[in-house]
């Protein structure tokens, strides 16, 4: 008696046929391996709009992304300054107070300590260049190459009067806290910076 029953792998991605026996597997070999090791996830909430904190966040994000993890960064409040296209993001539909906020917090990021009206930030940039540390711009470019997902918080965008056109094109999603939570629920690492 021969059993000639062939079935297809039960995963939705491949069409591989399986040699079925009574105890036969439901997935083909490559798929069952993937089943055991799904990609780990990492989520970061980037709340602050300071250069040093952003560098820390992007350093971790790029490292995680190159270590086989899915990374998404949720930009909210001052973190949105990092994503601004131009230094002063003042648009017509903004209210006076929104304009004032965007006047005073720009995409020219300060550092979180010893800023001295920009002098500290300038010195920090010089120092980092001298010691060949990657700059924020480099890290952001890398993050994009490594498919790090940027999510901009629509609520803070609304409060600060920012729209899709004011932010860089790398932003992959405009969403709220629920989207973030849904991602964070499945992620192993979760940071608030």
């Amino acid at each position: 008696m021969t059993m000639e029953k062939k079935e297809k792998c039960k995963c939705p991605f491949c069409e591989n046929e399986l040699e079925m026996s009574c105890f036969g597997p439901a997935f083909c070999e490559p798929c069952s391996k993937e089943e055991v090791q799904p990609k780990d996830k990492m989520t970061i909430i980037l709340f602050s709009g300071e250069m040093d904190k952003a560098i820390a966040a992007f350093t971790l994000a790029t490292t995680a992304a190159s270590s086989n993890m899915d990374v998404s960064i949720f930009f909210t409040f001052w973190g949105l300054n990092i994503l601004k296209k131009t230094k002063y993001t003042i648009a017509k539909p903004q209210m006076l107070m929104q304009k004032m906020f965007n006047m005073m917090s720009t995409s020219k990021l300060p550092i979180s300590k010893l800023n001295f009206f920009g002098l500290g930030g300038w010195m920090m940039k010089k120092l980092m260049k001298k010691s060949k540390m990657a700059s924020l711009e480099d890290l952001m470019k890398l993050a994009k190459e490594l498919n790090v997902k940027y999510i901009a918080c629509t609520t803070s965008c609304g409060v600060l009067g920012l729209s899709k056109e004011n932010l860089i094109d790398d932003v992959s999603e405009f969403a709220g806290s629920t989207t973030y939570l849904a991602e964070a629920k499945e992620s192993k690492i979760n940071l608030f910076i």
Binding site: T59, T62, T63, S66, S67, N68, K132, M133, A134, L142
Partner: protein, 69 residues
Amino acid sequence: MGLFCPMPIIKTKQEMETMKPGEVIEVTADDPGFEKDLPAWCKMSGEKFIEIKKEGNLLKGYVMKKGER
């Protein structure tokens, strides 16, 4: 060379994407953190860590690309 965390690891990863399974990469770095970072990265990414050699200030790491040959 001359780069700081996380660049050595990211460059390694980018280079390894162009390699075939079974091939071994030699990475030279002078970031002292690299000694611990490379094995940790291999653990996460599943690549096979071979060894790290110290030559003065230089660190030479060897990693084999995973997968069947």
